[in-house]
């Protein structure tokens, strides 16, 4: 029990500290408007009233944590999944394009890394473009991808997933290239003394050596896939997805809705990274590597 406690305690401390600061700011940021209202209505007010009322706004500048929790509860547990206001519905839309984009990005990344490591010409020509691709702000290129793909008849899930792919292939390429090149010269010499073929060198040495690097990259890739999916949902006219909830919320000043979508996205990212982490741990352990 002490083991679990010693793990939970530091996290709980940080969460508690964030809560204190958050509630403080909720009162501080929402009070000018509240005081203004008291004065217009000629209401006598105490500090206690102010604290209570600043945490009960419909459209606060900063909603209190419990308001967000209530909103998330109402839009997940108490709403039907088919409802347009259900966070589960929007979350699953975002999740599906995140996962599709992540899968495509990982496959693309591995493919590019293999061609870079195995082919000198690819190494020289490809890497600069891959790096350049990531210097373009995703917010600028996302609408272009949506528009262009729409023009060729692709709409819905795939264009959004493409934006996730665009972001997520990069860490996979970088990590995988490093991983495939990670065997030390001694191992490469060893394989040469066996007169091993290039394919054997790849399958028996480079590929297994790259696995820990691949998983480290995939943890980054899945988190930015989610960012890509959300960004991809913004220019689609805010139809569905967490990105759409963010955009709709900001149209109508629904700060609680924005924050609940934000928190859900953060939780989803943590969950996804956690799942990759567990798969990584199990795989490396089964490979006999100390993960």
């Amino acid at each position: 029990m002490t083991g679990a406690l010693s793990r939970v305690f530091p996290i709980a401390t940080v969460v508690a500290a964030i809560m204190v600061v958050w509630y403080g700011f909720t009162v501080y940021l929402n009070s000018p408007w509240q005081i203004d209202r008291y004065e217009k209505a000629g209401i006598e007010w105490q500090m206690g009233d102010l604290v209570r009322d600043t945490m009960a706004h419909d459209r606060p500048i900063l909603p209190a944590p419990h308001q967000i929790v209530v909103e998330i509860w109402e839009t997940t547990v108490e709403k039907k999944i088919t409802s347009k206001r259900s966070l589960i519905f929007h979350g699953s839309v975002t999740l599906s394009s995140t996962l599709l984009g992540f899968a495509m990005g990982t496959i693309l990344g591995i493919g590019l890394a293999v061609s870079i490591v195995e082919n000198r010409a690819m190494d020289k020509s490809l890497m600069p473009w891959i790096i350049t691709s990531q210097t373009i702000p995703i917010l600028a290129i996302a609408p272009m991808i949506i528009v262009v793909l729409n023009a060729v008849g692709l709409s819905g899930l795939v264009p959004k997933a493409m934006i996730s792919t665009y972001l997520s292939f990069f860490p996979v390429v970088v990590g995988m290239v490093k991983g495939l090149r990670s065997p030390d010269p001694m191992h490469i010499d060893l394989m040469r003394t066996y007169n091993s073929s290039r394919l054997q060198m790849f399958l028996k040495l480079r590929l297994p050596a790259s696995v820990p690097f691949l998983f480290a990259s995939m943890k980054v890739a899945i988190a930015i896939s989610l960012v890509g999916a959300i960004v991809g949902e913004l220019p689609t006219g805010a139809v569905a997805g967490l990105g759409a909830r963010l955009l709709a919320g900001s149209y109508y000043g629904q700060t609680i809705q924005i924050w609940s979508a934000l928190i859900s996205a953060a939780c989803m990212a943590a969950l996804l990274v956690g799942v990759v982490g567990v798969i990584s741990h199990v795989t490396l352990k089964r490979m006999g590597l100390r993960a």
């Binding site: 010499d189 040469r192 003394t193 028996k204 040495l205 050596a209």
Partner: protein
């Protein structure tokens, strides 16, 4: 194996030179090395760092290419010998693949050569027993001590039954007790298998204890300064290192090293 009259000649080098191009001018790693190694020899290469002893071993293994001179391994060019898997190579570090168990590490060369699963299993078991690691096949490398890991790497080099064993300071990183033990075992292994062994070391007692031929080398440029034929008996208990004859040979090696090496 009977190819021609020089059947017993495993390695034959004449005027072998190798120059590396470094940023601050050429480095003469080997210069005019003449060397003949007969079948069944245990040859130690000894010298200070930079004398080219590892480079020479790597030339034999076709991991480096000489700039001039000629060398044959089993009567072939080193490349042909490598392609025919004529030798097993043991590196300074065990160089085991971390994601493979010991038996799969030892089986790696056999796997690359495309042996059947049954033959592979049989040979792995046999070589693991030969190096005293039977029962450890299912362990991962990190679960073994440094000495056991190096023994596993020797097993790996022996697994495919090459007649020539090239060993590059295999016990350099081990403590003296483990080293003594492995030296004894290696000697027994050599007597049991009759393999030709080329052994790089910078330890004089190790070289004298193990070999029947000691090649003393010196640096800048890397060259052979003395070749000592040892007449120690084949049976060598560890305390032979206290005998008069042993110390005489060790003294000759030491003198050779000192002459070849200037400390200015």
């Amino acid at each position: 194996m009977a190819r021609d009259a020089t059947i017993s000649r495993v390695i034959d080098a004449e005027k072998l030179s190798l120059t590396f191009d470094a940023n601050d001018g050429p480095v003469h790693a080997l210069k005019d090395v003449d060397l003949a190694i007969e079948k069944g020899d245990f040859v130690s290469f000894i010298g200070p760092s930079g004398c080219g002893k590892t480079t020479l071993l790597r030339v034999i293994a076709d991991l480096e290419h000489p700039t001039s001179g000629s060398i044959t391994v089993n009567g072939m060019t080193p490349e042909q010998a490598r392609l025919e898997r004529a030798y097993g190579y043991v590196f300074q570090a065990p160089a085991l693949l971390a994601w493979r168990t010991i038996e799969r590490n030892v089986g790696l060369p056999l796997e690359i050569m495309g042996l059947s699963a049954a033959e592979k299993a049989e040979r792995v078991a046999r070589t693991l027993e030969l190096v005293g690691l039977d029962g450890f096949g299912r362990k991962f490398p990190w679960q073994l001590s440094g000495g056991m890991q190096q023994r596993a790497s020797i097993a790996r080099a022996l697994a495919f039954d090459a007649d020539l064993l090239l060993m590059d300071e295999p016990f350099g990183a081990l403590d003296e007790i483990v080293r003594d033990h492995l030296n004894e075992q290696l000697l027994q292994l050599w007597q049991k298998t009759g393999k030709t062994i080329c052994f790089v070391t910078h330890s004089i007692p190790e070289a004298v204890y193990l070999s029947n031929k000691i090649v003393v080398m010196s640096p800048r440029p890397g060259r052979v300064t003395d070749i000592i034929e040892s007449d120690l008996p084949a049976e060598r208990p560890l305390d032979i290192r206290e005998s008069k004859r042993f110390l005489e040979i060790a003294q000759r090696v030491r003198t050779g090293l000192r002459e070849g090496h200037s400390y200015e």
